[in-house]
Symmetry: C2
Subunit: 386 residues, 2 copies
């Protein structure tokens, strides 16, 4: 099987783009990735697009064909992949498989979501499409509600504190200041987090990632083609796994089995372990999820994620920089785009050249974790340079 | 690269399943396919599900994780693929790539849609998510309207008649009588079609495929594993292509460029041509589309599809039996399931043993065409037995 490399990355600013359409955002991100790779659209052989819910957000399904059309890429195959907030990494995984199958040499994997066209409560209801409609949404659970249940269980079982969760948001906002693509480029304090509006106890507004419009894209090539590019970043392993859709069906809601299974698969494929990683991009849709992520990816022992954060291990310069570009919290979370944005940010880190306060020095390997819903899908991607 | 074979097929009855959920239908189809393959769920390594719009139809995204969960298949990777009415074949194409990539040996590709939970006009609006929201849906175009424009153009350019279109529905209903899974098992006459309610001139009710609930699944295995099965059907070629989402952006609306490009790719991979096919399953969402399909797949010259139908070439026993099990018109069209159902029906034909009036005798190779929207996505699959 051929190896696969990433040779271009691009994205829009993550923001509230009231004046722009899904079509527009997708095209900008794709063009930026191709420009970065110094390739023209005529070289692209297939397109995979991650998108969670354009049907509900903007009345448009068939989103990958839309993106191919808008970018003038017809008649290339265009496939939309969906697993809620893990849609982006799924599109990446599908593009990776497609190149490994020998069918294509140059493929674009993208993600896009236009969320702000729906009003607040409609957006919340749409996002609950990621949970179990019959057992969770129908009784009024929201996503913050689900993660609040998870947070309470983690606090009770392991003594994780409210302050430790707040420190996740503080860390990610501190980093996001230096990311020109981030929605909120503003430092916040632990006090700010604790004093912000309560959404679902114990999670306050500043524990929650925002509603965002945006798109991101990466260009993947086969090994044969990678030789033509100066700075390829290699895909070392991709793992994907599923778990029960409803939280109540799980034995233990303080861990994510899908993350563990996906990480195991990705580490195995890469022939590497947690100790070999220089940085991580994890899915901090809610602050508690970053704490659980560092545990389930093996960066600390189970239950010690809060302490890991408190000790400053996740800071740039710490033991394992996590969400060094700002995470979902500060960059924003256009759901279908996030998984691709995470991968693009790892590529940027491995290439070097990010602003000094967020550049992880000497980074050679990074890991991304993209989660769908309350953990029913997890995708782990490991990237490295030679 | 490994070759890939289909070793199990299953589906629910296609019908209005008021009392059943998407979860329920998916599980039944998947279990039937595994039973057919004599495999247990523990053998399945990955799941790909085609679904167009469960977010709007039943408030549930994250549909592949739902299906994996309901079937007890966690933690296997579960990916939803979407390209409107071509979602099923996309799931199949993704499963095919995943095996060819060397990552898996046993994969289930499924499709499911639960459409009848929405009322009539809401269902029509949801289906228009397959078209161009900004340029078509927003001005009130419906899918029947789009295909009516195509039909009028074909009639004007090539002299295709209203009666020839009606003959497509008559042929498919004649076949569907013998298909136990079909929604409408009832013969109809040309007069019935012409006299049924006008939906969008020139298309009447009986030119249109119905709104349906249902699911279908197939089991794919690598060559190494295929040896353990008595009657594998081989995947000889898969082609996928895209075209503009909006009809008005095309030079010529009497042909589907995506079909032509997808067919060319599939024929090339298979090393075969139209003359080598013994039967076809094509996407008769509207009668005119079957006429255009037989032209664009190369079974007759451009513009002669109407005549091809009139001469009885599409009948079982004719030159090239088309939709021998009833097509979308008689079997029903749960959008995300249709592409998988078509492939399952070709497998059944190649195995032999269908009821005598619809069994294509001595069939060794078949071709399926699954179309998304008004032709912005096309997937062509060629199957054969040794």
């Amino acid at each position: 099987m051929t190896r696969v490399a990433i040779v271009g990355v691009g994205q829009t600013k993550f923001d509230e783009h009231w004046e722009r359409s899904l079509r527009d955002l997708s095209t900008e991100a794709g063009a930026a990735a191709l420009h970065d790779a110094k390739l023209g659209g005529e070289h692209v052989q297939a397109l995979f697009v991650g998108n969670m819910s354009s049907g509900r957000f903007v009345g448009q399904e068939h989103m990958a064909a839309l993106a191919a059309d808008a970018a003038g890429l017809n008649p290339i195959p265009a496939t939309r992949c969906e697993a809620a907030c893990a849609s982006g990494a799924l599109a990446f995984a599908s593009a990776y498989n497609a190149i490994k199958s020998g069918k294509y040499d140059i493929v674009v994997a993208a993600g896009a979501e236009k969320m702000t066209d729906l009003k607040g409560t409609d957006a919340i209801a749409t996002l609950m499409g990621a949970g179990d409609q019959e057992w969770e949404s129908a009784i009024g659970l929201t996503f913050t509600g689900l993660y609040a249940l998870i947070a309470r269980a983690h606090m009770q079982k392991y003594g994780t504190t409210r302050e430790q969760m707040a420190m996740v948001s503080v860390n990610n906002h501190r980093n996001g200041v230096h990311n020109p693509y981030a929605q909120f480029r503003k430092e916040i304090s632990i006090k700010d987090v604790l004093n912000s509006s309560m959404i679902a106890d114990p999670l306050t507004l500043l524990d929650c990632s925002p509603i965002t419009d945006g798109a991101a894209a990466v260009v993947l090539v086969s090994e044969k083609f990678a030789k033509n590019f100066p700075n390829p970043v290699w895909v070392l392993g991709v793992g994907q796994a599923s778990d029960t859709l409803a939280l109540h069906d799980r034995e233990n809601i303080t861990e994510m089995k899908a993350t563990k299974a996906a990480a195991q698969a990705a580490y195995r494929e890469a022939g590497l372990g947690p100790q070999d990683m220089n940085l991580a991009e994890v899915h901090d849709c809610f602050s508690i999820n970053e704490i659980i992520a560092v545990e389930d990816l093996g960066f600390c022992r189970k239950g010690e994620g809060g302490k890991f954060v408190e000790q400053g291990s996740i800071a740039v310069g710490g033991k394992l920089p996590v969400n060094a570009t700002g995470g979902l919290k500060s960059i924003g979370h256009p759901v279908g785009a996030t998984g691709i944005r995470q991968i693009a940010d790892i590529v940027r880190q491995l290439r070097g050249g990010l602003p000094e306060p967020i550049q992880v020095k000497g980074a050679r390997r990074g890991i991304a974790l993209n989660i769908g819903g309350s953990g029913a899908t997890a995708v782990v991607t490991i990237l490295g340079k030679e």
